[in-house]
Amino acid sequence: MEKKKREEDTGGTSNKSAPKVKQRQRKKKSKESKTRTVHANTLYDSAKGEENPNRHYANNKIKTTKYTLLSFLPKNLFEQFHRFANVYFVFIALLNFVPVVNAFQPELALAPVVFILSVTAIKDLWEDYRRHRSDKEINHMDCLVYSRTERRYVEIYWKEVRVGDFIRLRCNEILPADVLLLSSSDPDRLCHIETATLDGETNLKQRQVVRSFYDLDCDFDPLKYNSVIECEKPNNDLSRFRGYIIHRNGRRDALYKDNLLLRGCTIRNTEEAVGIVIYAGHETKAMLNNNGPRYKRSKLERQMNVDVFWCVIILLVMCLFAAVGHGLWMFQYGDKRPVFDVLSPEGADLSPIMSAIYLFLTMIIVFQVLIPISLFVSIEIVKICQVYFIHNDLELYDEETDSHLQCRALNITEDLGQMQYIFSDKTGTLTENKMVFRRCTVAGVEYSHDANARRLAMYQEVDSEEEECMSHGGTLPRRDSVTSHQSARVVLRSQSTKSHRRTGSRAEAKRASILSKHTAFSSPMEKNITPDPQLLDKVNECSSQMDFMRFHSQSMSTLPSDLCDIIDFFIALTICNTVVVSSPNQPRQKVRMRFELKSPVKTIEDFIKRFTPSRLTSAESPDEAALVYAARAYKCSLVGRLPDQVTVELPHLGKLSFELLHTLGFDSTRKRMSVVVRHPLTDQITVYTKGADSVIMDLIRPSSHDASGKRQKKILYRTQNYLNQYAADGLRTLCIAKKVLSKEEYACWLQRHLQAETAIQGREELLFESALRLETNLHLLGATGIEDRLQDGVPETIASLRRAGLQIWVLTGDKQETAVNIAYACKLLDPEEELLTLNADSQEACALLLDESLHYIQAKFLCSSSDQAPKAYLSNMADSDLYSSLLVHRLGLVIDGRTLAYALDRTLEDKFLAVARSCRSVLCCRSTPLQKSMVVKLVRNKLKVMTLAIGDGANDVSMIQVADVGVGISGQEGMQAVMASDFALPRFSYLQKLLLVHGHWCYSRLANMILYFFYKNAMFVALIFWYQFYCGFSGSAMIDQWYLIFFNLMFSAFPQLITGTLDKNVSAETLQRLPQLYKNGQNSEEYKPYMFWMNMIDAFYQSLVCFFIPYFAYSDSEVDLFTWGTPITTIALFTILLHLGIETKTWTWMNWSSICFSIALFFTVALCYNASCPTCYSPSNPYWTIQRLLQDPQFYFLCVITPCSALLPRYFYRACQGTLFPSVVQVGRQLDKLPSETRQNILSLSGVAAGSQLSPQPQFLSTNKSLPKDGVGKNTVAQLYQKEDAGRDKETCKDVYSLVNTEGDTLPYTKDLPGGQLNISTQSSGGLVRSAEESHVLPNIDCVELPPEHGPSCVRYKRSPEEALQNRTEHKIHVAL
């Protein structure tokens, strides 16, 4: 009370006692640092700004720029020097200014580092300038602010808005700051806003006027306002706002997030609103949420840094060697100083030791190129180009939502090619998150909605039908990149024509979704629900009875309880949600206009008429919307929602208005939401609750001992049965319950609830407790089953990702049954797999379960290691090589959230991981967001694997952030996941191309480029190193310093960038059809540590050749230093370019031209440089050198022979490797070279084989790397299959042989095949016949024998098809302690 008084004091009377106020303010500041107090600016004279208590708060001017004109240089340099490499290069450059050690002209040595720094600086400057321009634009937008002097609203710029100003907002205006809503033209004192810019959700949200200004009849007059607002400090939590407003009369009113309009949102549907600015400028929630782009370091880069470190070591060794050599060289002359050993500039006679020390520093300068200065810049450039190409991929573009893939993190593209584990959310990621009402049970009676099911089935048929005719028309399936564009066009056209004649087609669904973009409702499929006739009858009967009763003013309680339940059920469906209804003729419609313009107006208009019901509904979650639409099908429709009232239209009864007393929103802990309403018919206070069955069922308390109680129990039992059944069908289940409160109960509850509402500290907890108090002793009404359809192509994507060697784990918050069913539907679990289900109630039970599972797995699958005692096996748990020794079995693991919590305990996590790791698929149900991220973290840290997390909702954010690569699905549930992600995809199935193609390419490109960089620099530097042996280790370089410095930066820079950006080692099609090729990146096969050293050795060899051939060719001749050095430079350039040529797999005109350009650039620069100045460029002074060289035939002879002999070993090695032991990727490349028809056949064969259900292939065999190579000279294509698919595909391989056979030469292929089965070798027709036959053949040959050298003990895997079908066993262990 006292506090209140004081605040009133400061608010109202501060004009009179300014100093006192100041004092108090200061006091208050120290005391109450957690709140912010906002007064109205109208109370203060603007001229005396210092009196205004708001003056300390940030103004609305935003400045997102990093630099000012003055601070740019120092600040930018400071930031750039955070990168260690830059510091190193500057250090080297500065070292050059020391006369004793300098190697180059100091100014010249600065050039590369200045160049690199300035390129980065210019990039930063440009970005900053763009930010500055957009800031300026935003700062100069207009808004209406109340002026005290003019006593009206005047137009001022956004940047002039201050905290405490009154702002008048009009429809479609964007909010300039965070504003507390004080008045609205809306009769219900509401204001609708669209928050698309904040969270991407386009549905309208209601905000309401602060309660105390609610009843204001006349217009809001700012001059009469003299309350004080106390609220929390600026923070970035968009979904929270707490505070209270204190009025003159001492009344306190709580403020909620519903009262706050956030900066950046758009006012919709409301003509005018007035509010007071609470947070401005950088303190607004929107700005506080603006985080910069994320920085992650990719695996490849980490690996690279190790090798950079090695380069430093090599550099130091070389320098040390040269220094010692110089010392010895000096020493041998003793005191007799030879004429060519010049004294130091100071004239001092250096001792050998001193000059060795100086030389060491000089050599660091000379050899600095070994640490590739341009590597970092080049990598950045290449990554930007890669991102550009990924962005532009047509196949990653979703026509329906007009969205394409976004790379939000620019520097981890290559990580996409190295993923090993995928963690996926289920809802919205694997499924569409478009909820379709399927069936329900009310009062223990099931209504199966068969007609509805049939209708849904029809949609699917239509879909597939259409796809079929599309593929007939467009000739090729849409994966084919060449024709994809054309076929896409065809699709569009056919759809737009079709949409006229057929309703409910997919085309319209598409249109509709384009129309409404992100809103939950898109297709008529979800809106049109065919009611169950039985239920419909009952509803009608019930409502007519009620109507009758109302008419006769009878008590409602005489209604039969099941009918009563039914009507309550639908009322609950209709009102227990947060769905907002808006009529179409309101301003919101304007927003939609821009979508209409996209397509022919006529069709779209009648389309809207047909498919937009009279009211547009926008819901926050698709579940709610599905339920509202379901209710509408039974004529119970939501007409309007206001903060305190919901209007529902019921059959016979007409519009009924429920007084909405409270809404207890959904949260993930309670897993339910409730509304408290006053029922207009019964005038009872009723609580409707809707939530997950697990929580609701526990809250149901049937009144005991009487008939209704018994009935209730029966209903409960039946409903539970139906719920299980729904879950088994893969439906999402929700329970609906109600509770009638007596007036006293309500009053009692209300009192404490209001206390909770107005509390400023810990309000959330209080509200939570309050909700818990309310939601007890519920009466069960019924349950619903909602279907969440799988996204297109999910099973195929999962199958191919799995063939690519990726482990896929699904982490979902859904129920176990639902999750398992979805997992079966998307082929994550195979019906033939065994399922380990872990459900434990305690830590001990969990431990026991895990042990048991481990034993089981071991007993069942690890027969080869049977000599190992299981005990030892367990004791070795911590060993990391244990993990690697485990194979992946045909097992599925299902674990629920509670068990997961135990399993993630420190003591059990190793065991859990060991179990999970050996299962082919893992399914974590009922997991919380935190658990999701813990699982990802656990796998990532313990197994040291690359992890990818993909999800679409806010509950996936933490997992997305923890994983190495986070992928967000820009789907139905807002943008939080996308905001947190590194890559945002429109659909799950795009993951396939993103990983298998782009990931693979990015990885192999970058890996090759980095290796090449190391090679290139080492090779170039080694040339100078060899020369030290012939110049007394004096640090002299025969290569002109200009060439030395610009060689990397200019002459050899472009071709590698082109190759690094464009090289494709295997075509996109082959990569997608042969996902096995992805293992290349997983195993880091393009860049292994030994490759760095091989490259270094090759570099040293090549430099030896490039040095000694000119050396001997010019030995004992009159050649001068730089006339000899220039050919070496030229030769080195040629060698380096040709080396790149050998490593380049795809030669486009860009490659050719870049190489030509490099050579031309070198000669042009050399010619100009050598002709430009006869006296400059000391000490080399290369005047006319290259010109004379070009007249010298010896120069040309050198330029031919040296690169040839330097590259001979590598070229020869590559050729032998390509023939004798080709990598899988090379085989893939060979496949590319085959004539398209043959390739199609082979690929389709492999596709059928892998995709077919008839292939119970033992996965653990296929991933077994230790499979011995069966002889070197096998047909490589066949070898690929043998490697990948082990024995299972032997038949396929034979067919490959035979296919190739018919295409090319004759017999030699068959020579190393086992006899028989070759009867089809003469068949030359396409793969369709082939694959058809294939599927007949396969089931019969399901016998795998590993070659004997694999292990002495048994690995024999034999299974007949009959067995296989029976084999759907579930190994379930339930332990409850």
Binding site: Y333, V342, S1117, T1146, M1150, P1193, L1234
Partner: protein, 374 residues
């Protein structure tokens, strides 16, 4: 009034903004959906040549290289073998050597010239022009500080650089307070032996062979890079106020007492010396013996006497001095290395080609047939 205006302007603006905004959106929606362009470049479908390196595909390259390199190598080898070259070491390390005495008691500062002469015999006559070189071994003209120790502007005749040579010349920048011209260690260590060649004809008379000292330096050096201060008028005046390099016996403008055009910085011997050699064993062109007529050889076979004015000490750093007579071909001087290298590399390529052929035949036949496009 003002309010009304403001309001109206505001409305107009708002409408405008709205309009343009909507139009912009609409336009963007109508023809600029975010759909990526379907171009070969953006979809990474540029037509490309995709070579696959296997034994079969690279095999022809090896044979072709082999077949081209071997004949070239033979040609180069023959060319180099046709060059006649004669070399004589006159350092005087050996006590039996005529120059032993000179070599022993010589130092940079001695004033009296020491002369010695050596006899040698040419077995074969040298046709065409003969180039006479002096060769030095173990002389690190490529030492980093040595290479830098010069002032190119001074050598180009820049009068300011003449008086104030570059710091790079230290410690040979000034001497006794006067700037050194030419400054620096390279100039200071100028090779200053004088070589003369006499032919002893059949009746024992010594015939001096005329040695041409013009045209031994690069044309660009003589005419562009090196210039005397103040043109060529009176070098003594031009070099006034400068000091001669410490090791020199005479100032730069008296380098060639016979030919005033060959004095100062444009003295060709000096220019040749200033072009620092790449390797510690090198030769520098000293004189040219012009072919007299087409009938008689330039240097007929027989006995010759090489008279040396021994001024240049090399023994202190274990150096050697040689005199080389050589004819040249279009490939330059005698050096069989390049020919041998070509033959060797060519043979290796050929050999590897055979190896690849074997590999190809044994293991690779499927691939090639797969490569044949149908």
């Amino acid at each position: 009034m003002i309010t009304a205006m403001m309001a109206s302007s505001y409305n107009a603006k708002e409408e405008d903004g709205h309009h343009s905004g909507a139009a912009g959106h609409g336009g963007a929606g109508a023809d600029k959906s975010r759909k990526p362009d379907n171009t070969a470049f953006k979809q990474q479908r540029l037509p490309a040549w995709q070579p696959i390196l296997t034994a079969g595909t690279v095999l022809p390259a090896f044979f072709v290289i082999g077949l081209i390199f071997i004949p070239i190598g033979i040609g180069l080898y023959v060319t180099s073998n046709n060059i006649k070259e004669f070399e004589i070491d006159y350092t005087g390390v050996d006590s039996k050597s005529e120059c032993y005495a000179c070599a022993r008691n010589f130092s940079w500062n001695s004033t009296t010239p020491c002369t010695c002469s050596m006899n040698f015999t040419l077995e074969q006559p040298f046709e065409s022009n003969v180039f006479m070189y002096y060769g030095l071994s173990n002389f690190y003209q490529n030492h980093r500080r040595y290479v830098k120790s010069r002032d190119d502007s001074q050598l180009n005749g820049d009068p300011t650089a003449l008086k104030d040579p570059s710091k790079e010349c230290e410690p040979y920048r000034t001497s006794e307070g006067l700037p050194i011209a030419p400054c620096g260690a390279i100039a200071n260590s100028l090779f200053n032996d004088t070589l003369e060649l006499h032919y002893v004809d059949s009746n024992g008379t010594k015939v001096e062979i005329p040695l041409v000292k013009k045209g031994i330096a690069w044309w660009t050096d003589k005419h562009v890079k090196f210039r005397n201060p103040n043109g060529n008028t009176n070098l003594t005046v031009a070099f006034q106020g400068t000091s001669k390099p410490v090791n020199w016996g005479k100032p730069v403008y008296e380098l060639d007492p016979l030919d005033p055009e060959n004095n100062g910085f444009i003295n060709e011997d000096f220019i040749v010396w200033m072009r620092t050699a790449a390797l510690p064993t090198f030769r520098k062109l000293y004189r040219i013996i012009q072919k007299k007529s087409s009938t008689t050889p330039t240097l007929p076979s027989g006995r010759y006497i090489l008279s040396i004015t021994y001024n240049y000490p090399v023994l202190s750093f274990d150096g050697r001095k040689r005199m080389i007579l050589s004819t040249i071909s279009w490939m330059g001087g005698k050096n069989p290395f390049l020919g041998i290298a070509y033959i060797t590399v060519g043979s290796i390529c050929f050999f590897l080609g055979v190896v690849l052929l074997i590999i190809h035949h044994k293991y690779d036949n499927r691939n090639t047939s797969a490569d044949i496009p149908n």
